[in-house]
Symmetry: C2
Subunit: 421 residues, 2 copies
Amino acid sequence: MNDTLTIEEVMTGIGRAAKDAAAELAFAPAEAKARALEAAADAVWAARADIIAANAEDLKFGEDKGLTPAMMDRLKLDETRIKGIVDSLRAIAAQKDPVGEVIAEWEQPTGLKIRRVRTPLGVVGVIYESRPNVTADAGALCLKAGNAVILRGGSESFHSSRAIHACLLEGLRAAGLPEAAIQLVPTRDRAAVSEMLTATDYIDVIVPRGGKGLVGLVQREARVPVFAHLEGIVHIYIDKAADPVKALDVVLNAKTRRTGICGAVECLLIHRDVVATIGQGVLRALAEKGVEVRGDAELSKLPGISAAEEDDWGREYLDSIVAARVVDDVDDAIAYIRKHSSSHTEGVITEDPEVAERFFQRVDSAILMWNASTQFADGGEFGMGAEIGIATGKMHARGPVGAEQLTSFKYLVTGDGTTRA
Amino acid sequence: MNDTLTIEEVMTGIGRAAKDAAAELAFAPAEAKARALEAAADAVWAARADIIAANAEDLKFGEDKGLTPAMMDRLKLDETRIKGIVDSLRAIAAQKDPVGEVIAEWEQPTGLKIRRVRTPLGVVGVIYESRPNVTADAGALCLKAGNAVILRGGSESFHSSRAIHACLLEGLRAAGLPEAAIQLVPTRDRAAVSEMLTATDYIDVIVPRGGKGLVGLVQREARVPVFAHLEGIVHIYIDKAADPVKALDVVLNAKTRRTGICGAVECLLIHRDVVATIGQGVLRALAEKGVEVRGDAELSKLPGISAAEEDDWGREYLDSIVAARVVDDVDDAIAYIRKHSSSHTEGVITEDPEVAERFFQRVDSAILMWNASTQFADGGEFGMGAEIGIATGKMHARGPVGAEQLTSFKYLVTGDGTTRA
């Protein structure tokens, strides 16, 4: 970064370059984009020693900064994780190219032929935190969708992201695509984030991916449209008609398979009639797996269950903790969820299709699961390939955000000198 | 309106009521919504004398305020126009209900069955200007899509909108739907608009429909997502391979059929090789129809063509005026459009499919027309029924915004005690 420029000047330069690159990418052949991603995958694998060395610098910085073990773990790269990055790049390269797809096609009585065709969005700004692999995933998905992308990683992963970004540039060069297609903000200065959030002239959409601090900043400052990406305050409702085995399997998996992901369940709602049967069984099994259960007044009378505080309701733990409370019926559960969820993912366990149908119809979250673990809330598990994240808003993208969700469309109308009466 | 409340309190009350109504509307039966719209149509027709009387008050206010004849015309209601409102309500009632539609459905190797199902957006805020019929159209389309709507019409149409709104409420009551489904802001105070633009707790999306002043206000103040609705700075490129008759027919229709609509062409780009032939013919025909042609340095040498000023490029006249300039080829035209258009609608006249294809691929506007009049840029002409407007942004909705564009979706996932490995 040229130190004589202000952050604003640097970001304006990046924005302009991205917009020019986007105009070119919009009609880049599918083969060129796939080739760039394949070449980037090769480059990442070839440079794995350099990437690990760069990562070591970040780990040192993180240690000095006193990052938590969980954050240090997210930051760390080793050969296995780099293999994961390479595989993801190749998988995105192999996906169907979304741009130019005819989404709908019809003819009007006037003789006009109308096609609705998928197009890139333009320039995507991705603001993320410590995971360096997001550099590759987000860069690759945006390129696949024909978008230019401006990546702003967390300061903790600065060196790792830069090393990975260098490989993405190699890929772009190998395919003859503009290098400004994937830009990494070359400064740790936080002011760059504010510049991105207000760059309505250059950025079409911001994809934030991070914790509460980032989400709050985005909500306060963003003038550019944002794919809302809130936490996963995930609820599972255990109905009185739940199958005990399914309830046990699904809840244990939803909480303990991985506690740190956004699809992990954070709150159980148990129908009053089955508290003493299925409920107790599930809660005991969770406790045996080392999960701390924080119950409402009623449940906390049970052995091994602590009493929840007020701020345990509607809370994302991302840890081996779960809240639990008694509800009167599915409507009570729905009302509670409406109040406390982040509209990410919720589940219902029941053998009664009417209860499931009511839950599906009346809970307004991006993903609803019936007799299935909420940990399936993932673009890969949906068959959509890699994802930048799970959108919790209702505008444009909702649920897993893959290449297709990073596109828009336009109408192509063909006449024959046709005029309107 | 209760005068002891502040605007903020009034708007918060409206927002809360809308949110509650939206929760109920989300699962309102399709039949109930259709019945409400039919009953509203009956009520509008029955109340036509009252509506015309209310409109007379607005016309008086408009006259005192010194509105232009064009604005007075937009404001005016007569029995024919009220018949138009009634027909539009019935047409929306008869449309397919979008809510609950299964957009996609597939099964994963895990056994999970995944459905992507259309849902309402929630609460829509519509901010519009003088046309009173928007009250009915916007209210009806939002209801059809299962959304609650907060309507804020221009102060000029205050009485007319109120009279039409009363009929919509009759329809809601007749169908047993909550009256807060369609609310009209009960004050002329402009502060209500600012409240709506920042009501992120209550409003999911703002649909602005109006001129530059409103669009600017929305761009500056909106914290709620917005369906960008810019002006229609519409270009038509006449290629060297244009058919002379099609060029003449299409351009004349695109400019003169109705000059005041957003699909009216505002700027002609003429290939250098056909200026003396097709170009001159088209420009002469426009002049004969009373259109003022403002040409670039080259074209303004021709008889009857005045010289364009700098601010004529990228300008929406909505009047019997057109700008015209010479371009070297389709790429020159595309570059010019990229710089000056509002991404609404552009057209190309050519018999060369490669030129049309290049234009379709490289111009990034919501609607592109090949050998067809740009005045077809209209939801009705697209077979989409009524529309709230034409969205010029690329997020969520683009082009004509009808009931379907006012929806979101969610994923419904069915397992059988399925857990993630």
